[in-house]
């Protein structure tokens, strides 16, 4: 059966990252920004890319990360990971669009950017960033997972979080903040 045909399962698209293979070339940034330009390919600007390569030549650190969800607050503390003797800040692996750094933020509007897996009709064989990455630092896989229970579970989580917020700040304050959030319109 082809991916996506079974109503009880859904296709998870994954981009696997092998940071040992990354050369830091940023072709992925170039391609993502071109693909999302209006009209398509009309301009290049890595600052609009939904993938950024965190690189630090002195530390031999090259980490491509894709834009995930918007987060309004800076994290209060960060882990430092030591991998193969090299120290990485937690930020090097975090795809959040957050106030502590100026990427995954649309340079003109200030709105958060999020990877959309190059959604298009017809669908691309593989996302642009993966296509241009010729070192296989990025590879694309599609996986079938069982659909049931997942939405429920997710709603449950949101409910739990909201309840915690309401307990802390009161219902009105939470509703007010939700209304004021600029990205609320975006969703």
């Amino acid at each position: 059966m082809k991916a996506g045909q079974n109503p009880k399962t859904k296709t998870i698209q994954e981009i696997k990252v092998d940071i040992d293979k990354c050369t830091g070339c940023r072709a992925c940034e170039m391609a993502c920004s071109a693909y999302h330009a209006q009209p398509r390919y009309s301009s290049i600007n890595p600052a609009r890319s939904r993938i950024r390569v965190i690189s630090d030549e002195l530390n031999d650190e090259y980490v491509p990360i894709r834009a995930g969800d918007y987060t309004p607050a800076e994290c209060t503390g960060r882990h430092i990971y030591t991998i193969n003797g090299k120290e990485y800040s937690e930020c090097s692996f975090c795809g959040a669009s957050c106030p502590s750094r100026d990427f995954f933020i649309e340079p003109d509007s200030g709105l958060p950017l999020k990877c959309d897996m190059c959604e298009s009709v017809p669908a691309l064989a593989e996302p642009m960033c993966v296509k241009v990455c010729m070192t296989d630092a990025l590879t694309y896989v599609e996986r079938e997972v069982v659909r049931e229970e997942i939405p429920q579970q997710k709603r449950g989580q949101i409910e739990v979080s909201l309840e915690a917020l309401i307990n802390q700040y009161g219902l009105e304050a939470v509703i007010d903040s939700l209304k004021q959030m600029p990205q609320a319109k975006n969703h």
Binding site: T23, C25, A27, R40, I44, N45, I54, V132
Partner: protein, 663 residues
């Protein structure tokens, strides 16, 4: 709307502390492309020949290439141009990495720097926000260390930094400008230091627009796949562990000694282990699928990266092995030193000591072993201490200062610039012309499209030309098909070949393309991604300017002739156009001079190598002809014939062994 370009230069006066964003003429791209091409025009117009390299009026120009910031792969070479104190000519320097594209995204095609700050400063460019900032706290800091400190200070890891190290600060002529693990060589760091500019930090988040989006993207992706998927592009030396070519054929020490059977399997194994035991990874430049740089972390030394022959220069000058290069290169990178010329300067000094022209008194407390001596002299040079103060002025200038016969040991320079340590047998006509007339100071910046050597059989040659897409004209296929012995080729073919080789470099250095996917690489296998037959289309799709092969060729001639005019105005003449006298053991002065005359005529230059009015006008350079006439360099009405033929001294009979260099 301007496509591919931003349409603005950033003009900085460090004396006055002024910053101006200046709109540029829209038709410049069509005539001078960008990069080194339009930089040459600025230097011709704004740096007259009486301006000394160390004058505040000398310009230091960082140029993006015309294709930087577009989807065209491997367009990332930033050009740095100024007047060199070493040669008194226009310098030619390039570096890869990310700086040029970032500058475009910040909204500028060039940074044009004049004047001098009173103390160390750095330039911070963040889109429209441009600032000259104090850099006294960075004094003495290493080049990549400086980049790291600036990123931390600005709290922005995505800033791209180009910086000088101690060598540049102390106005060492061999000083480089370093950017991450890329290096701008051939003597530009000295002027950055003289201007008291420690670094430039750039961050840009603006769009670069292109004229024909979908077509350009598609063509760029084809080229990207071709570059990444073929070994006809990039630096094969990054992965080929057999480096017998350089070690068996190039000269060791002060470009003196050939060791013909140096390479062995045992040595290769030992060196390969050194490499892979200490290599972190291989990295590439902006928007290029190749990974030409080997990143090495040697115990106790700074992490550094090298490309190509850059790993051999130090140990060959010192008669040592690869571990020595690995040990010294990290330090040399942090000091910001050109790894091609610096080892030659050190080997030259040690030869003078051996010959008794310099004595032990000139080298107080110098270690006895070669390894120790190189580290010792490196320190003396970057600090300009004792003899280092003289050596810091390069081989030619130091030889004059030392005198007492030292000039004879300055045997491997052309136009006062250190050349690759190559000593061969019989004259190779194309190489004679390229080294003699080149103004990019290194043969690697001139050679590259036509193969260095013929293939042995007609069948092999036929096979080669059958898939040779890069030729600008069918005649090159015929030249190659009928070429059997390296030195046996007509003068007509030689002129054409040298011209093509030059054309590709001048185009790359103005569009910002990397030579490893274009001008330098076609000579090895012919299957290079960019060439005369597709670059015009890439330019046209990116810029919207109508471009074809003839127009591009003419742009090359225009830029090349303009560079010559800058240098002619500063005194360059026929007598200076000589390869090192011992480059070949067997010379034929008469034939060489006859070939040189033919080449000058072919280029439309007079017998002194000065472009004629007719040539200049044909290339839309009438303003150059006027200037040269006003200065008496061209005679009005005589179409440029001035002075007697200066053919210089007779061909040298100096050292050098039989030939046998094969790729």
């Amino acid at each position: 709307m301007r496509y591919a370009e931003t349409g603005f230069d950033l003009e900085i006066d460090l004396t006055r502390g002024s910053i101006d964003k200046v709109a540029t003429e829209p038709d410049l791209a069509e005539l001078y492309l960008g990069g080194q091409g339009s930089a040459a025009k600025l230097i011709f117009e704004r740096v007259p020949p009486d301006v000394d390299a160390f004058s505040p009026d000398n310009l230091l120009i960082f140029s993006t290439g015309l294709l930087h910031g577009t989807p065209a792969p491997a367009a990332n070479r930033t050009a740095v141009n100024t007047i060199s104190p070493q040669t008194n000519l226009m310098s030619h320097s390039l570096f890869g990495g990310f700086f040029g594209p970032e500058l475009k995204y910040a909204g500028y095609d060039k940074i044009v720097i004049r004047g001098k700050a009173t103390d160390l400063v750095y330039l911070y460019i963040n889109n429209d926000h441009v600032e000259i900032r104090d850099a006294t706290h960075l004094r003495g800091k290493g080049s990549t260390e400086t980049g790291d400190l600036i990123k931390k200070e600005l709290n922005d890891q995505k800033v791209q930094v180009a910086a000088i190290g101690l060598a540049g600060e102390n106005r060492v002529y061999m000083a480089s400008i370093e950017h991450n693990h890329a290096s701008a060589a051939r003597g530009v760091g000295v002027i950055m230091g003289d201007k008291r500019l420690k670094a430039i930090a750039v961050r840009g988040t603006k769009d670069i627009n292109v004229a024909k989006p979908a077509e350009l993207f598609e063509l760029s992706q084809e080229l990207h796949q071709k570059i990444g998927g073929s070994d006809g592009n990039g630096d094969w030396m990054a992965v080929d562990e057999d480096d017998s070519f350089h070690h068996n054929h190039f000269a060791w020490g002060n470009a003196r000694t050939r060791i013909k059977n140096y390479w062995s399997p045992e040595l290769q194994e030992r060196w390969t282990n050194w490499k892979y035991d200490h290599m972190d990874r291989q990295t590439g430049c902006y928007n290029c699928p190749k990974k030409c740089r080997n990143v090495i972390k040697w115990p106790g030394r700074e992490r550094f990266a090298y490309k190509c022959y850059g790993k051999d220069t130090y140990h060959m000058a010192a008669f040592l092995e690869l571990d020595f290069s690995y040990e010294i290169l990290g330090l040399a990178q942090e000091y910001g030193l050109d790894s091609y010329s610096t080892p030659q300067v050190i080997a030259f000094a040690l030869e003078l000591l051996e010959a008794g022209i310099l004595t032990d008194k000139d080298f107080p407390e110098m270690p006895a072993d070669s390894r120790g001596r190189f580290f010792y002299l490196l320190e003396k040079i970057v600090r300009r201490e004792g003899i280092g103060d003289i050596l810091a002025n390069s081989v030619s200038q130091a030889a004059i200062q030392i005198g007492n016969g030292a000039e004879k040991f300055d045997h491997n320079t052309t136009k006062k610039f250190e050349q690759l340590p190559i000593k061969l047998g019989k004259v190779n006509p194309a190489y004679f012309l390229m080294i003699a007339t080149g103004e990019k100071m290194s043969i690697t910046q001139i050679e590259g499209s036509f193969p260095q050597d013929p293939l042995p059989t007609r069948e092999q040659r036929e096979e080669f030309v059958a898939k040779w897409d890069a030729v600008p004209d069918e005649k090159f296929k015929n030249y190659f098909l009928n070429w059997e012995k390296r030195n046996d080729i007509t003068d007509e073919a030689t002129c054409d070949i040298v011209d093509w080789n030059e054309a590709m470099h001048y185009i790359d250095d103005s569009t910002g393309l990397c030579g490893f996917v274009s001008s330098f690489r076609g000579q090895f296998g012919g299957g290079v991604a960019y060439h005369m037959n597709n670059i015009p289309q890439v330019i046209a799709l990116a810029t919207g300017v109508a471009m074809d092969k003839d127009k591009l060729w003419k742009a090359f001639q225009r830029i090349r002739t303009l560079v010559r005019a800058v240098n002619v105005r500063r005194g360059l003449r026929r007598k200076d156009e000589r390869p090192p006298e011992d480059h070949w053991a067997v010379r034929d002065e008469e034939a060489e001079q006859e070939l040189l005359s033919k080449y000058y005529a072919f280029k439309g230059w007079n017998s002194e190598g000065i472009p004629t009015r007719q040539t200049l006008e044909r290339l839309d350079l009438g303003y150059v002809a006027d200037d040269l006439e006003q200065r008496g360099i061209l005679v009005v009405g005589a179409d440029g014939e001035v002075g007697a033929l200066g053919t210089g001294v007779a061909g040298g009979q100096a050292a050098g062994k039989a030939m046998g260099v094969a790729p």
